[in-house]
């Protein structure tokens, strides 16, 4: 019989393969920046969504919880208390962005996401759920020292980046895979009329409330929009695979960027969804990519700044 260490070798190799700590830094900075933008977008409506004087009855919110109702807004019920919580969260996000007390900040950021989603579930959006999922994964990931404010202040440019455990990146990649593939699979089980299956989704979408330019013009492009419906689904199925395979990851990033940028252009008010999805892609970077991108940018800048140009 094999010793237990033999059995553990495979998951250990898979999960704890060493990765450049700067990949985590990019994810942390991207996550904190998007979560901060989300907080800023929520700020004007904080009393509407989270205070007892707002739109959602606190007792109904408690009763709607699947198992446990967990929300700081069970205690912070007044307008002033809600404001205080959001200010603390903003501070935590800035700390996370700067990599200062990052673990503690990430913990509070997770508490914030759990809390506001539980308190104002009907007002949540897809990007809230993406941020909430990544809040856990950022918390359990290595923090590292690279690209933090303290390292910057102490001449961090000269610090050699560490190789750290890649478990957080593996979990993030799996999370992105679930987001895309479950979305695609769920549509197969939709009841009739299934607009994704019959190719009418894009036509309805561009006529609907979500559209930036709704109007009768949409009716003239039925064939093209049927193609766009199927193409979007094919892209959603392909993006995680392209991102995960080392040779095709840049194509995956390009395809994902195009898909989500396209949604942002044709849909109203979904810019944060675009940013939230783009924030997940750096988790697919590999050791060496940061150098490669850095070198390419340097070469481009050098070429742009040369006197013969």
């Amino acid at each position: 019989m094999r010793p237990i260490s033999e059995w553990l070798r495979f998951p250990v190799r898979l999960l704890f393969r060493r990765e450049d700590e700067r990949i985590y830094a990019v994810v942390r900075i991207g996550f904190a920046a998007v979560a901060l933008l989300n907080l800023i977008s929520l700020w004007p409506d904080r009393h509407v969504f989270f205070s007892d004087a707002g739109m959602f009855d606190a007792e109904v919110a408690r009763a709607q919880a699947e198992s446990v109702y967990f929300s700081i807004f069970a205690f912070a019920r007044s307008g002033a208390a809600v404001t205080f919580c959001m200010v603390v969260t903003a501070l935590a996000l800035v700390l996370l962005l700067a990599g200062v007390a990052a673990r503690l900040a990430a913990f509070w950021v997770l508490v914030w996401h759990l809390s506001y989603i539980a308190r104002a579930l009907p007002a949540t959006t897809g990007w809230d759920m993406v941020l909430r999922s990544f809040a856990v994964l950022v918390l359990v990931s290595p923090v590292g020292k690279c690209w933090t404010l303290p390292s910057l202040l102490s001449g961090g440019a000269k610090i050699l980046p560490a190789l750290v455990s890649g478990h957080g990146l593996v979990l993030m990649r799996l999370q992105v895979l679930v987001i895309y593939w479950q979305t695609v699979l769920r549509r197969f089980a939709m009841p009739d009329p299934n607009y994704w299956a019959n190719g009418e989704f894009m036509s309805y979408f561009l006529l609907s409330h979500h559209a930036r330019w709704p109007g009768p013009w949409v009716l003239e492009y039925g064939g093209l929009l049927t193609f766009a419906t199927y193409a979007a689904q094919a892209a959603e199925a392909a993006i995680p695979v392209l991102l995960w395979v080392k040779k095709t990851r840049w194509w995956g990033i390009l395809l994902g960027f195009s898909l989500h940028a396209g949604i942002s252009v044709f849909a109203r008010d979904l810019g944060l969804f675009f940013l939230a999805m783009m924030m997940t892609y750096p988790a697919f970077l590999r050791t060496g990519d940061i150098e490669a991108v850095h070198g390419r940018v340097k070469r481009l800048l050098a070429r742009g700044g040369s006197p013969d140009r």
């Binding site: 999960l15 704890f16 307008g79 009907p122 190789l163 979408f205 006529l207 609907s208 009716l219």
Partner: protein, 218 residues
């Protein structure tokens, strides 16, 4: 050539000399702390716990690729529900699955002024502020989910009861039955009908009050 592709040769050269390497399963606490790592795993026990969590969460995520049925009254195991609440989230990814078949939502409260006319208040609390225009995704989701969804949410009943209470405080108890939440929408017609006559929308208005969260016929 792949977009953005480039060689990481410089990095590969540096790797051999890299001084700050963390071995998460090594259990070498002194090595970790001496090299300035902030990673929380500082021993075999923690490393095994982390490995266990990662294996479990990976398995949970992989299992989540196949959508589970929700809203069927099955609560599932309490431990799993706790895990979903605090760690994994619901993993219910239905991006653009449901298609709201309307546009131009507007919601307001109309109050009988006792002189044969109607005064209008905003539908957003606190303060009966107007429904935002142009509206944003959150407000739209909010009103769509609590009002227009087929299975009306308990939030909606609570909202109407509270609105009634606030209006009573403002206008007196006789206001009950003399106000309504009025929701205007443009509903989309089936595409084949719209293509035939070029008219994609048909207007519709709903009236609701505390006693009639399902709608008041007018």
């Amino acid at each position: 050539m792949q977009p953005g592709s480039a060689r990481g040769g410089a990095w590969e050269d540096q790797r051999g000399n890299c001084a700050r390497v963390m071995l998460p399963m090594s259990g070498d606490d002194s090595a970790n702390s001496a090299q300035g790592e902030t990673f929380p795993v500082k021993g075999r026990v923690w490393a095994v716990l982390l490995l266990g969590f990662c294996c479990w969460h990976s398995g949970f995520l992989i299992a989540s690729i196949v959508p589970r049925q929700t809203g069927d009254g099955k609560k599932g195991s309490p431990a799993l529900n706790l895990y979903r609440t605090f760690i994994s989230g619901d993993q219910h990814w239905n991006m653009f699955e449901t298609l709201p078949l309307h546009r131009s939502l507007d919601a307001r409260i109309e109050v009988d002024d006792g002189k044969g006319g109607w005064a209008t208040l905003g539908s957003v609390m606190p303060g009966f502020t107007p429904y935002p225009s142009p509206e944003n995704a959150r407000y739209y989701n909010l009103f769509y989910r609590i009002m227009l969804n087929a299975a009306r949410s308990p939030y909606f009943g609570a909202y109407l009861r509270r609105t009634d209470g606030l209006l009573r405080a403002r206008y007196g108890s006789s206001i009950t039955g003399h106000w309504a939440l009025v929701v205007d929408v443009e509903c989309m017609r089936p595409l084949h009908d719209s293509r035939r006559d070029g008219v994609p929308y048909v207007p519709a208005t709903g009236y609701f009050d505390a006693a009639n969260p399902g709608g008041v016929p007018r």
